[in-house]
């Protein structure tokens, strides 16, 4: 299945759930409403034609205006690639966990929770792990984050 065929399939079968975006420069990039996340994930996993069984990556992004969470999926059996993302406003930074569908999401979600402060529903293992145990300086990957001992690179 090429990228265009995949796009067609998604437009046909996932109308309203997955909205293809133009920003994906190589693989197909779609947008999902945060409320639909677990439903879409389950559908993508169960769809016989797609069968996205392999979660490559989850990346949290702070664009300066909103949060985005980007999921990269691939299918081992059908050899496909797909990215989709959730857009979250700062005051409603909550997503559902997809740990039940892809176990690999466990630590990736934990990391987003820890570094961005995005809350994860239904995740039983939300513990600090990358930052020191006594860390109290907030969420360092946010764009507006600052701390007294944080040295910025001077503009040349």
């Amino acid at each position: 299945m090429t990228r265009d065929e995949l796009k067609e399939h998604i437009l046909k079968k996932y109308d309203g759930l997955l909205t293809p975006l133009e920003t994906g420069v190589f693989d197909l990039m779609c947008e999902v409403k945060p409320a639909n996340l677990t439903k879409v994930a389950r559908m993508l996993y169960d769809d016989e034609q797609l069968k996205f069984d392999f979660l490559n990556n989850i990346a949290g992004v702070d664009t300066g205006e909103q949060f985005e969470v980007v999921y990269s999926l691939s299918s081992i059996s059908n050899n496909l690639r797909l990215d989709f993302k959730l857009v979250l406003s700062y005051d409603q930074a909550v997503i559902d966990s997809v740990k039940d569908i892809w176990t690999a999401a466990d630590w990736h979600e934990r990391e987003i929770w820890e570094l961005y402060g995005i809350d994860i529903n239904n995740h039983d293992n939300l513990k600090r792990f990358l930052l020191p145990d006594d860390w109290d300086q907030g969420y360092p990957m946010r764009k507006d984050w600052d701390a007294p001992d944080f040295v910025r690179m001077p503009e040349l």
Binding site: P132, Q137, V151, R152, M153
Partner: protein
């Protein structure tokens, strides 16, 4: 401190003891310098170069340096690689667990001043010299095995030049 170290101190009060003491001093310092056992402590990139230095081509063992896994039996920490804020208390603890006399080599830019992670990093300790006292700094990212060997030779020189008075301070 081992009992043997007291010997030169008392020997000074005996006539002719000064000569014995200086001879003993040089022998003991020489022994320390020639058998520097290093702790197997490695965090990041420099660890690979540390491994290579211990391996066939460069061979730490020529200088009498072998690794010990436990800090109790080591004389030297080669802090190879970035020390993060989370790791810093552990480094201090390992240093505290070592038996006197103990030495520290800061290997690589990260341990000296944070290296490439000095700017814009919220997690890296900017230099290990405010965690543990450092004897030798080896710059590089990572330093070549030759630089590490040179650093160790410098440390040996430093240890060999130790005086009686230093022992009580250390």
């Amino acid at each position: 401190m081992g009992l043997i170290k007291k010997v030169p101190v008392y020997a000074e009060h005996v006539p002719g003891g000064g000569f014995v003491a200086t001879q003993l001093e040089s022998v003991l310092s020489h022994a320390q310098a020639c058998s520097m056992w290093y702790l197997l402590f490695a965090t990041a990139c420099c660890a690979i170069e540390l491994m290579c230095t211990g391996a066939s081509r460069y061979d730490f063992d020529r200088l009498g340096m072998i690794f010990r896994p436990t800090p109790r039996q080591a004389d030297l920490i080669i802090a190879a690689g970035t020390i993060t804020k989370k790791m810093a208390p552990r480094l201090r603890r390992l240093y505290d667990q070592m038996a006197e006399p103990r030495y520290v080599i800061a290997m690589g830019g990260c341990t000296i001043r944070g290296g490439p992670f000095y700017y814009d990093s919220y997690a890296v300790e900017k230099g290990i010299d405010h965690i543990v006292p450092v004897d030798i700094y080896i710059p590089g990212c990572p330093p070549r095995p030759e630089s590490l060997l040179e650093g160790c030779l410098h440390l040996q020189k430093k240890v060999k030049a130790q005086k009686l008075a230093d022992w009580h301070e250390k």
